[in-house]
Symmetry: C2
Subunit: 132 residues, 2 copies
């Protein structure tokens, strides 16, 4: 029984340790971060498959560029009609401007730019600092 | 010694339980949410105090409209020169479109719109769904 308690104790401590470690990582994420918003309007005659290739190529960047700490993307569903024709959003989060600059110059990002360059009619890029 | 281990075991299990409970709450937050991006270019001759009043009035909305679950804002620091003159970003997060619609029609939001209406030269509004 003593051994059982000891075993459970070790298991519980290990579990607690893993969870505390997870929370510490989360606490770090609560510091200031840099958001990088990219909005696109694609060319009217662009095939859906060519749009999808842009989305998929952008969405693959977080697995290739380790200075990206968060990433989300989606298509416009605003009912307000103020999107200026922009249909696709990508929001990339970095720890700081140096991390953003690593991304901008990264070969994987430069390859992505080659994919999107002739397919977009309009792009808006907006970066801002935020307390997470 | 057995008692000490048992005490530590209970303490560790309790700590683990609290942490697991915290993680469960976090898991709830991981469900789908609706992001509402608003970007502004203000009129060139607008006084800094009048810009600040817009920022402060927008930033007060989360305390007045309870369907807002997250809010952040900031000014553009992108070095890419692709912001189309847009200088201020506000990102409001809702649980769903109904919550966004409550916000759009809320008296506090309508009052805010009166503050910003004649001060902006350009606005972009873009809403998208995201898995948190």
């Amino acid at each position: 029984m003593g051994k059982l308690i000891a075993t459970w104790s070790v298991a519980a401590l290990l579990a607690g340790g893993v969870l505390i470690s997870g929370l510490s990582a989360h606490a770090d994420e609560d510091s200031k971060v840099l958001r990088h918003i990219v909005l696109y309007k694609f060319k009217d005659d662009l095939a859906p498959a060519d749009v999808q290739e842009v989305v998929d190529t952008f969405a693959a960047l977080p697995s290739k560029i380790d200075t990206i700490v968060d990433f989300e993307h989606g298509t416009n569903v605003s009912p307000e009609g103020k999107s200026e024709g922009l249909t696709h959003a990508f929001v990339v989060t970095f720890r700081d401007e140096a991390s953003r600059d690593v991304y901008l110059k990264h070969p994987a990002h430069l390859e992505y730019v080659e994919v999107v360059r002739d397919r977009r009619e309009k792009v808006v890029v907006f970066d801002y600092w935020v307390d997470e």
